[in-house]
Point group: C2
Chain length 467, copies 2
Amino acid sequence: MKSIILAAAASLSVASAQGIPDEVKETADFLLRQGLEDRVGYQTTEDLTTEVGARLGGSEAEARARDWAVEHLEELGFSNVRIEEFTMPYWARDYEYAAIAEPFPQELHITALGNSVGTPEGGLTGEIVRFETLDDLIEAPMDNALRGKIVFVDEGMTRTQDGSGYGVAVRKRSGAANEGAKRGAIAALIRSVGTDEHRFPHTGGMRYEDGVRKIPTAALSFPDAEQLQRALERGPVSVTLDMAVETKQEVTSGNVIAEIPGQTDEIVVIGGHLDSWDLGTGAVDDGAGIGITTGAAKLILDHVNETNEKPLRTIRLVYWGAEEVGLLGARAYAEQHRDELSKHAVAAESDFGAREIWKMDTRFGEDKIGLGRDMIRVLAPAGVALGNNQAGGGPDVTPLRAMGVPVVTLRQNGWDYFDLHHTADDTFDKIDPDELAQNVAVYAAFTWMAANTPGGFRADDAATPSE
Amino acid sequence: MKSIILAAAASLSVASAQGIPDEVKETADFLLRQGLEDRVGYQTTEDLTTEVGARLGGSEAEARARDWAVEHLEELGFSNVRIEEFTMPYWARDYEYAAIAEPFPQELHITALGNSVGTPEGGLTGEIVRFETLDDLIEAPMDNALRGKIVFVDEGMTRTQDGSGYGVAVRKRSGAANEGAKRGAIAALIRSVGTDEHRFPHTGGMRYEDGVRKIPTAALSFPDAEQLQRALERGPVSVTLDMAVETKQEVTSGNVIAEIPGQTDEIVVIGGHLDSWDLGTGAVDDGAGIGITTGAAKLILDHVNETNEKPLRTIRLVYWGAEEVGLLGARAYAEQHRDELSKHAVAAESDFGAREIWKMDTRFGEDKIGLGRDMIRVLAPAGVALGNNQAGGGPDVTPLRAMGVPVVTLRQNGWDYFDLHHTADDTFDKIDPDELAQNVAVYAAFTWMAANTPGGFRADDAATPSE
Ligand SMILES: [Zn+2]
Ligand SMILES: [Zn+2]
Ligand SMILES: [Zn+2]
Ligand SMILES: [Zn+2]
């Protein structure tokens, strides 16, 4: 056993010679161990979710979140703290109600899907036509057989550690309304995209297809989907749906930015999204990501201040605005920083709750994949294994990735993330401070290495920025 | 080992000679084993909670539940199926809203406590004064220090198997408003009486003390109580409360009754309560009790029909109405059957969810305690142990107990009962069919023994009914 460890250590130092310098890894290791004791991250999440609470993209509450963020980041001692504003269309739920009308009158717990139109005033009533899956609806004939009906897409979601069940299930959030409308339906209900069995409907954004009639659409909680299914087993069921929404053409939102200045004009971006859905207080989505990346950056800031040694690259902490309603902050960031994107060395967003990181995926140049292996040597003691080189990087990093910026996903255990996701039950009390601290530790160590690895993470033949 | 079993069997037959006849125990054992496979109980709970749903005492939905019950009980083949009406005052929630007004504006999830008055139209706003426990409020001086304030009694509830944490915690449901009002408060909030950590406020009845000003009172969900506490750690907090309720002087409710006629005029009563709170569909409280006792009675009915042998005593299945709002059905039953109470041999209500029965408490005459030991010989294979002789018998049995009717409590595992109790999340999907069947089995075996044990369960020197 000992000889294996020695051999590993030997190969480590060989790899280091061509990759991440030993002193960088040593500092990263120091940050990792410090991070496991961190409470700044947890406190940041607590402050945001308590002092602001829910903060829908474009709302007055999101504006208060930006003010809170600027104050918080300045207090922590970051540089260049600023809000970068952008404008956006606004959608908010006003009122929502559903009930079985016949034959078993009773209320159903629903929530409008983001961007849904409302019903006519006073609501609408229609017979339910249930589809086991979205594909069953897609395969249904286009013969107006659903005219006057309400479609109910009753597809479930599989619980997985990596959250892969979401990608499959989430299609119905837009699909039910679009495919229903094409066939004459007057409204669309879905079983919530979620894995819990509590009476919380899950909201989430939907998009109408161009040229398709817009029909109101909402999600039923798990118990209500089960109830509707049981009612349907007994015969025809009609449901009343009454929803009102509020929209505005143009409101102001913004990204909040803070930095630890580096020695070069290159940039490493980490962050989370500041907005949340309106139902919960946005703790696991994404107060946690805000806390995790702030805690990590603050650990690095303290180290930089103590040693008086700047990182090679600027570490930029970004709190994206208006993520939930269509990655609007992410798009604005990519647009506003277009000229600077070639200087973005790597980007990573934390947006998957507060449970422990168990894997690191990268998207590095093919000749730089070894840097991921190198990083894992430092991160492994925290329980992180190396994944693949097809990282997504997090939703708000998507536009950067599309522009060629290398990205990393520090993958968290998402086993119960979709129990709370986009529900009223997404509240601070669900977060374990030690698990959140593991995230802070891994982000701090990763970010330090990302900011101090010479040569960066793009393929050497790619257009790399000069230093 | 074998010799121990033989010895036990020998002592069993000695006990039997003075207690429950062997052939009665044999049939009880047969019913127990049949009951473990039962699905009538589960189906009954499904039908009630699906086809009626929530059914607040005195509401139109409760009336539909009675109609459903009559049809269901007649279909199952019971005799003398009937509704015994009574009148009652009516209370219902109309509208409820709470929010932190200052300094962190955000909505709080509350629910009005049953019988609470509403707020003035447009709501009221006051500074929160938090009390860690109800006793802290009771000990606060009577000097009008709470004038214009909203009291917040933040007392928690201990999770226990036997539900004993409830008795302690439930005092605050009336106490917060009464003790707050005595000290000048304008409203009272409590941390929900419950053991879950989800965003479901728990409702439940409260009573105003005579001569005390009536102030509106509501329960916060666990996450909202935590949130309010965190806000208070940061300084003064004011809350807006807006509630409207509807009351009527006199509406109709009723108990539903079905029987298996016996050979004598003595009666054994089992049942559950038909009404529920308005938030959930009343599955664990008390659709389960309705299902369990109906399944048990149906097993006995089938046996009686097959063997053409009547039980000694009439088995009367009672679905009490309007339990949640003050045991109104129970009181009406005791009143309407006053002349018959001396013929009630024993009574037992199932009203504690659908988890397995683990203990049997009795309240028999002191010289009849041996009958409890005798019954346990039959029930033990289902996992039931003997408890004490101070049984409550269930809430709707309270007035009968007070009139000297022997009672039994078949105690269920209540470990997570108060997670769901009186919340929107009390829905059918939470019930395990096999656990419910264990209840059916135990009730069927118990009820058969209760109906066929000569001499009954009152002390021999008590005024026992003639046969
Ligand atoms: Zn998110
Ligand atoms: Zn989200
Ligand atoms: Zn009950
Ligand atoms: Zn109850």
